[in-house]
Amino acid sequence: MIIGIDVGGTNTDAVLLSASGIEKKFKYATDAADLFHTILACFEKLLDGIDPKRIKRIVISTTLTTNAIVQQDMNPVGMVVSAGPGIDPEFFRTGEQYYCVSGSINHRGREKAPVNTMEINDIVQKMEKAGIEYVGVVSKFCVRNPSHEILIKRILNRHFKKVFLGHHVSGNLNFPRRIATTHLNAAVFSLHKSFFEAIKDSLKQMGLSIPIHILKADGGTMSLESSMSFPGQTVLSGPAASIMGAIPYAPKKQDAIVLDIGGTTTDIAFLVNKAPLLEPMGIQRGQYKSLIRSLQTDSKGIGGDSVVRVKDRELVIGPDRKGPAMAFGGPEPTPTDALIVLGLMPEGNAEKARKGIHQIALELGLDDVETADKIFKKCCSIILKKTFEMIDKINTQPVYTVHEFLEGYKISPRKILLLGGPAPYFAKKIEELYHIKTIVVPESSVANAIGAALARTTCEISLNADTEQGIVTAHEEDFAEPISKTYSEDDLIETAHALLKEKALNSGADPDNIDDVEVVEFQKFNIVRNFSPKGKIFRTKMQIKPGLIKGFEHILSQL
C-alpha cells in the first residue's frame, strides 16, 4: 500500500492506496503553526486498523519551506560570492552577511584570476563573529569549473556547520539564480532537517520504518536523505501534486490544460502526452527567481471565494479573498454565491447567497440570476484568458536553432482537466463557452494526494565534454573524467545515461521506474583556432521525466 499526503495552506489531503483502489481518503484541517502534528494526525488516521508492514511507499508534500520563505522565518546565512567580469554581484545581495570576493572563471571554465585565501580567512572571522552557522559559496561559471568553490569550502569547513556549494544546485547557467537558490537551501536547511527527523522518528514508533519520499516542485520525488542537501526543492510542491493527480485522465499524444480552482487562486498547468511541462530555468514567482526545477505553473488570483465587487460600473472579481462565501457565513459576495443563486450548487445558505448577489445586481442594474450568470461567465473568462496568455507565451519562447524555429513544437490543448472544490460546477460552463472538452478529475478533492502518492523519482543531469581540454564533466554530480580526442556523441550519451541512473537510484528511485529517460538538450560544436579544428564541445541534458509509477493506471481509470 502507498500513502500520499499533501499539506496545503487550509487543508491537508491524505490517501491510502492499494492495488485494488483507494482504501482511505480524507481532508484534515492544517494547523499552520504545527505542521508536525497535522502530519502525524494524518498518519494515525491512515494507519488506523492497517498493518504498518503493508505500507510500501510514503510520499509527503509540505508547505514547510514555502511558509518559511513567506514568513521570512529562515536561518541567517553567510554568502561568499566570486563574480569576475560582468554585472556587479552586489545586485544579488541576499542579506547582511554577503561577501563578494576575488577570483574569476571564464565561460570555458578557465581560471582567469585566483582565489585569495587571506581574503577568505578574514571573512571567516567576520561571519563567526556574527554567529553564522550555514554558508553558501557561489562562483560565476562554477558549473564549468567548480575548483574555486571547492577551495573556498575547504577553508570554511572547519568553522561552520554546513557549507552549500553553487555547482551542486543545478547544471544550468545563471549566476544570480544560483546565488538565490544556494542561499535558500542553506537558509531552510535546519528547519527542514529537524522537522523531517522528527517525522521519521515518530513514524518509526508507529512501526513505519520504510524510506520517506518528499515531493519536489517538478512533480517528482526525492528521498529524505537527498532532500537534506536541497531542501529548497520542496518549495511549491503543492501545485505539482495536483498536476500529477490529473495525469491519469490526460489524453495520450495530445495536449491538455490542468486547472486547479481553489478558494483564492486557480493554478494553471499543461500536460503534453501525459507529461507536465517544466519551467525552462526554474521556479519564479514575482521577483524571486531560482534554479529549482519546477513544473510550469502559474496562478491567477481568482477562485470560489474571491471577492466580487462593482468598480466604475464594471464587475471586478478578486484577486483578494475576505473569507468564505456569504452562503457559508462570509462577509462579501463571491463566485460561490453566484453558483448557489444559479441553482448549480446545492450546499450553503441560499438566502444569504442571494442577499450578496442582490447587492451586486442593484449596482449593475440587472436581476439576481442575470448577475449571478454574469459573475460565473466572467470567472470562466478570467481563468481561460490567463490560460491562453500562458499558451501564447510558451509557444513564442525564443529558440536558438534554425531547426527549432521551423519545426518547434507548439502546444494546442484539446482537453481541460479540472481539479479543486468548485471544479464540478465549472466544467459544463467552460465547455459551453470555449468548445474544449472539459472534465472533472475523479476524486478531484484528493487528486493532489493521489498525485503525490504515485509520483516517481525525477532527476536531471548536465554533462559537458570538451575534447580540446580533454575532459568530460558533470560538476553537479562531482563527476569529471579525462577523455581522448576521439570521444563521440554516443560516448557522451552513454555516460550521461549511466550518471542519470545512478543519481535516480541515489535519490530513492525504484529500479522499475527509471526507464522513462529523455534527452532534453544536445549540442555539438567545433572548436576552431586559427582556422583549423582543435576539438569538439558536446553538451547534453538528460532527465527522468515527471510521471507516475507503474502499476496504478488501471485503478485510477476505474475511479
Binding site: 554585472i87 547557467l173 545563471n174 549566476f175 525564443p398 529558440v399 536558438y400 534554425v402 572548436i527 576552431v528
Partner: protein, 436 residues
C-alpha cells in the same frame, strides 16, 4: 534590485545549426560563448529586459531592399531569413513602443550585401539592416533614418543600398580600406548625386583604440546626427574592431563598445561581424546590452584587458583627427555639393565591378540615375554576373517625385525583355515589385 532604466528588447538567434563551412569564422558556435555569458549573468531575468523570438522575413520584405538574382530562395537559406527576421522583430517591438530600444543578436550578418545580390559577399547574402529599414519605412511610415555602422569592415552593402537616398543617413566607421576587406569606404565616398553627404565614410588607421573611436563619435557622428535629426537611429554593431579579433587590426574594447553605445543611444542595434568568439564577443555583447538597458556596465572588462598595451600612438590620433575634420567639412558643404551635381532631369551613369568573395562571383554593373532635387531619384541597374545572369533592375524611391516615378516606369517599359534574363521594377512608392 537590478532593473533596466530603459526597457530593452533582445532577440537572440545564434543559429547553432548553421555555418558557411565547419572552420569558417561564420560558423555554428560564433555566439555560443556569448550565450553562455549572457545566460550566466542572468540578463534575461533583469526586470525591463524582454527577450523576443525572431520572426522570419518574407520575400516581400526582401524585395523592398534587394534585387535577388535569380530569386530570393536561390541565394538565401532559412538562417538568413530568420536573422533578418530577428532585426524585424526588434523593429516591431521598438516601433510598437513595447520597449524603448532593442538589440538583435543574430547571425549570419548582412552589411556587405548590396541592392543587387547574386549571392554571398563578405559572409552576407541579404542586408538585414536594409531589409529592416525598408520594412520600418513601409510599415510605420518613418521618414528619416540614420544607420551608423561600427563594424570594422566598411559596410559597403548598406552604403550601396542607401547611396542615392537623402533620407537615410549612413555613417560607417571602419578600418582603412587599404588594409582590410572590402577595400572601400574612403572619405570621398559621399553618396550619389542626389544624396551627397548622406553617406559618410570614416576610415580609421590600424591600431585605433577606444580613445580614437570615442573621439570620432563625439566630434563627428553625434554633431552630424544632431543636425540630421533622424526619427530612428540604427547601429550595425559589428564587434570585430576588438583588440582580440583574428581578422582585423584594431584595439577597441568591451568598455569602449558600451561607452560608444551609451553615447550613440541607438534605438535599434543589430549585430554584424565579430569573430573573436571567446575573448571579445561575450564581453562586448554584454556591455552593449547593459548600456542599452541603462544598467551599470563598469564591471564588464575582458580578463586580459590591459589599457596600457592598447594605447593608440600619437600618429594614429593625428590621422583620426584629420579624417574627422575632413568629414565634418564635407558634411557642412553637402548642400553645395548636391547643387553642383548635374542638371536636374539629366542622367548620370556609373560603371562598377563587384566581387563576391564568399560565393566567388564576379558582377559588372551599369547604373543610370535621374538627377533630381526633389527626391532620391529613380535609377536603373544593368547587372551581369559570372553566374550567367543578366538583369535590369529599376528602382523608384519611396518618396519619389512625380517626374522620377514617371521616368522609372519609362525605364521599365522601354527595357528590352530579350536582352535580359529579368527586368525588375521596384516601386517603393506603391511597395510593388514586378518582374517582366
Amino acid at each position: 534590485m537590478l532593473k533596466a532604466s530603459n526597457k530593452t528588447g533582445l532577440v537572440f538567434f545564434p543559429a547553432f545549426d548553421w555555418a558557411i563551412d565547419p572552420t569558417h569564422p561564420e560558423r555554428e558556435e560564433r555566439l555560443l560563448y556569448t550565450q553562455d555569458q549572457v545566460t550566466e549573468e542572468g540578463v534575461f531575468d533583469i526586470s525591463g529586459i524582454i527577450e523576443y523570438k525572431p520572426e522570419i522575413v518574407t520575400v516581400q520584405d526582401i524585395r523592398r531592399a534587394h534585387f535577388c538574382i535569380p530569386d530570393e530562395k536561390s541565394i538565401t537559406t532559412e538562417s538568413h531569413l530568420i536573422s533578418a527576421g530577428g532585426a524585424k522583430a526588434i523593429a516591431n517591438a521598438v516601433l510598437n513602443k513595447e520597449v524603448k530600444n532593442g538589440f538583435a543578436l543574430v547571425r549570419p550578418p548582412g552589411h556587405h550585401s548590396m541592392r543587387v545580390s547574386h549571392g554571398g559577399r563578405g559572409f552576407c547574402h541579404i542586408n538585414i539592416e536594409a531589409v529592416m529599414v525598408e520594412y520600418i519605412r513601409t510599415q510605420f511610415g518613418l521618414k528619416r533614418i540614420a544607420v551608423v555602422d561600427t563594424d570594422c569592415h566598411h559596410g559597403d552593402g548598406t552604403n550601396d543600398i542607401f547611396w542615392h537616398d537623402p533620407d537615410v543617413l549612413f555613417i560607417s566607421l571602419h578600418q582603412d580600406g587599404r588594409t582590410l576587406y572590402p577595400g572601400t569606404g574612403f572619405t570621398g565616398e559621399l553618396g550619389g548625386p542626389n544624396a551627397r553627404g548622406s553617406n559618410l565614410n570614416i576610415p580609421l588607421p590600424p591600431g585605433t583604440s577606444t580613445e580614437g573611436y570615442l573621439y570620432v563619435i563625439k566630434n563627428c557622428v553625434l554633431p552630424v546626427l544632431e543636425e540630421f535629426k533622424p526619427d530612428l537611429i540604427v547601429n550595425s554593431a559589428g564587434q570585430d574592431n576588438h583588440y582580440t579579433d583574428p581578422l582585423t587590426n584594431m584595439n577597441f574594447s568591451a568598455q569602449g563598445y558600451a561607452m560608444l553605445t551609451s553615447l550613440l543611444k541607438p534605438d535599434i542595434a543589430v549585430l554584424e561581424g565579430g569573430y573573436s568568439i571567446e575573448g571579445a564577443l561575450p564581453y562586448v555583447n554584454l556591455g552593449i546590452i547593459l548600456s542599452m538597458a541603462g544598467i551599470d556596465y563598469s564591471g564588464v572588462i575582458e580578463p586580459d584587458y590591459d589599457p596600457e598595451r592598447l594605447k593608440q600612438s600619437v600618429s594614429v590620433t593625428d590621422k583620426i583627427k584629420k579624417t574627422t575634420d575632413t568629414i565634418n567639412a564635407y558634411w557642412k558643404e553637402k548642400d553645395e555639393l548636391r547643387q553642383k551635381t548635374g542638371t536636374p532631369g539629366s542622367f548620370e551613369t556609373r560603371h562598377r565591378e563587384i566581387f563576391y568573395d564568399t560565393d566567388n562571383i564576379f558582377e559588372r554593373q551599369k547604373e543610370k540615375i535621374r538627377i533630381c532635387r526633389d527626391c532620391g531619384g529613380c535609377f536603373e541597374i544593368d547587372s551581369s554576373a559570372s553566374t550567367g545572369n543578366h538583369i535590369l533592375g529599376v528602382h523608384i524611391p519611396i518618396n519619389a517625385c512625380k517626374a522620377c516615378t514617371e521616368e522609372g516606369y519609362r525605364f521599365f517599359d522601354q527595357a528590352d525583355k530579350h536582352k535580359f534574363n529579368q527586368v525588375i521594377l521596384q516601386d517603393r512608392t506603391k511597395d510593388l515589385y514586378e518582374i517582366k
